[in-house]
Symmetry: C2
């Protein structure tokens, strides 16, 4: 028995991954403890030790989300997988879904709703701005929507969306509230239960400083009730709410094998959640706010213009900065990287070519990092304008 | 800013993962090199170093699958995610899909087909047996099916399905061939191109000895043509063929951000593929065959009964053994584990309660392991019968 095709030479090369300081909108650098955990031994898909890790993750996510929902787990995929899990479980053919679009995430959520046969109805704000409660109320009044999607952290523009009162408003119109917190969770206050959010999801590679995947998600009682009232099964087996909540031990039923949990990621994620709990969520929120304020004021003092005009609409975790006139972004980025090994990103979707984006996330959110990056940016600006 | 809910005490406990020798149907133990790779530093989602890792993985998968398909990549999820990726991209509402069911995988594939609005038409064989070409031909003749699903490795029963001639037969009836090789790839000969397989997928945690996720998949030209002829977009954004093949650099278009690749898993997977290429696919196939033959003959000599009667239908990588009369499986399993720290599994789906399953996979497929396990099983049998 011999193969017919030989392997390409490139697979034999040693694997070398450079250690950069990732100051884009994510992933951020993973902490040593998390990375070490990712190399722990494998387990069987329903081994009690793995189920214990999953149970620990559930407790950690409940704290992170500030919820007591028992239907709290993590999807074996990245943040986009969690969004799709939410949409595939909640949306049926013909369902009207209100999608708040003020950047790339609303755009993508609407695309996903359409794919499963739902009808996305968009309410929009210009990139760099957020929504008022009255914007939502108008949308809710005019459309009998089953669910509203909103990104708490619109990382493509650097905007934060206040959530206070939104859950109650949605419920007044018999509408569920689905919130994306991929770039904000752990870095900005979110109270899933108190804010009456029905479905909340996030990612692992931002404030939690873990590798990408798994993606935490939680469903409140209204969402579960709506899921139970479905006329058709969800389009996905992999993301199926019933299967996943059984596998994650959210129900009273004995745990059945559904898929093989991504255990190395779960080990790292569990440790990321432990580190967060040890710091304390309040301290972590405050650290992100403090660093962002320092960063923003330092930038403005040095002639940079933030993309988001309104201070209260600025996302602490991801900052969008207008590319200064006469500056070539590639040159700027590469100057910063050479100077301090810090990697910053360009815009995305509506901000592509307009801004660069800086993440102050988890491990990398310290005043020392802010200071180092701000100095490097000032130098790079001078360099780019001098040429 | 303070949280309202405090973290549960269980998240603060140290994370301890026992090192067991995993001799079930997977995951198998990951090799040291792979585990170390999983703890390498993070990168941005479209950083050139990550795209290089993905490109290396592509070359490794092409070798593993014995294909030159350019549409070869890995899904950010586990084996089930790859199956769903195949089905969601290939099946539209009303499409008739022939599903060969002789264990749990056919059952699940049919479930997935139904969820996206396809019509699964089952052809079945009793658990423990495989299909003849004539079984398929009958199914193909009677139904104008768009695609046929078959598990090459039916790991719930320990059966291998010969693939010779099946691709040509399917194409004679204008039908695509989708093959699951999660438990067999690398351990048994598969020639995607020569065998005219249109879509092939697998997992990472079996013969490749990597953590679960990512899941490799490849689409041949007939499959791509059929995808291009779709009337509606696939139900999934996360699994969308066009988005994924762009992100994986399979097309001429510049790479766009789609989702954040699960890089720590990709690092490990890349190293798993390198280790395989270094051993050589032919050597790896032969090693798995040789160990399986030794294991099967030792078991039969010692009074165990294999679930699969027909020798040529036995899967080398996963063996199903009938639970001997008067033996309590839980007691047997626990005796083996205590004796030699080797963990074996029970049945699944149609074999639940009937068999136990042993995997000889990747790192754990050596004559020394076979010898140690067989001795432990003989001892456990004596112990269980004596009581």
């Amino acid at each position: 028995m011999e193969p017919l095709l030989q392997p390409d030479a490139r697979i034999f090369k040693p694997l070398i991954i450079p250690e950069k300081i990732l100051m884009g909108p994510g992933p951020t650098n993973a902490s040593k403890v998390v990375r070490d955990a990712c190399s722990l031994p494998m387990l069987g898909p329903v081994d009690k030790e793995l189920l214990q890790v999953m149970d620990d993750c559930k407790a950690g996510i409940q704290y992170l989300f500030q919820t007591e929902n028992k239907y709290t787990f993590a999807v074996s995929g990245t943040g986009h997988a969690a969004l799709e899990c939410a949409i595939m479980n909640m949306v049926e053919v013909g369902d009207r879904i209100l999608v708040a679009e003020h950047g790339v995430w609303g755009f993508r959520a609407a695309d996903m709703v359409k794919r499963v046969g739902g009808i996305p109805i968009k309410i929009t704000r210009p990139p760099g701005e957020n929504f008022q409660l009255s914007d939502f109320e108008e949308g809710l009044k005019q459309n009998s929507a089953k669910m509203l999607f909103i990104a708490h952290s619109e990382s493509s523009t650097g905007v934060i969306q206040p959530l206070e009162g939104l859950g109650d408003l949605c419920h007044k119109y018999n509408c569920l509230l689905l919130v994306d917190t991929v770039a904000s969770i752990g870095g900005c206050p979110v109270y899933m239960d108190k804010q009456n959010i029905d479905i909340l999801y996030s990612g692992s590679q931002k404030v939690l400083s873990c590798p990408p995947g798994p993606a935490p998600i939680s469903f409140g009682s209204r969402a579960v009730e709506s899921f139970r009232a479905r006329k058709t099964p969800p389009v996905s087996f992999y993301f199926d709410f019933d299967h996943l909540t059984n596998y994650w031990g959210c129900t009273e039923d004995p745990v059945r094998y559904h898929h093989t949990g991504m255990m190395s990621n779960l080990y790292g994620f569990r440790e990321g959640l432990r580190i967060l709990a040890q710091e304390g969520l309040g301290n972590c929120w405050n650290r992100h706010l403090k660093c962002a304020e320092l960063f923003h004021s330092t930038l403005e003092t040095n002639g940079f213009e933030l993309f988001v005009k309104n201070k209260s609409a600025r996302l602490p975790t991801v900052t969008a900065i207008r590319i200064p006139k006469d500056v070539n972004f590639a040159e700027f980025k590469s100057h910063v990287l050479k100077n301090c090994n810090m990697d910053i990103s360009g815009g995305l979707g509506p901000t592509a070519g307009l801004v660069f984006r800086v993440g102050l996330l988890g491990e990398n959110c310290t005043t020392a990092r802010v200071d180092m990056l701000a100095r490097a940016m000032v130098k790079a600006l001078k360099f780019c304008l001098k040429k």
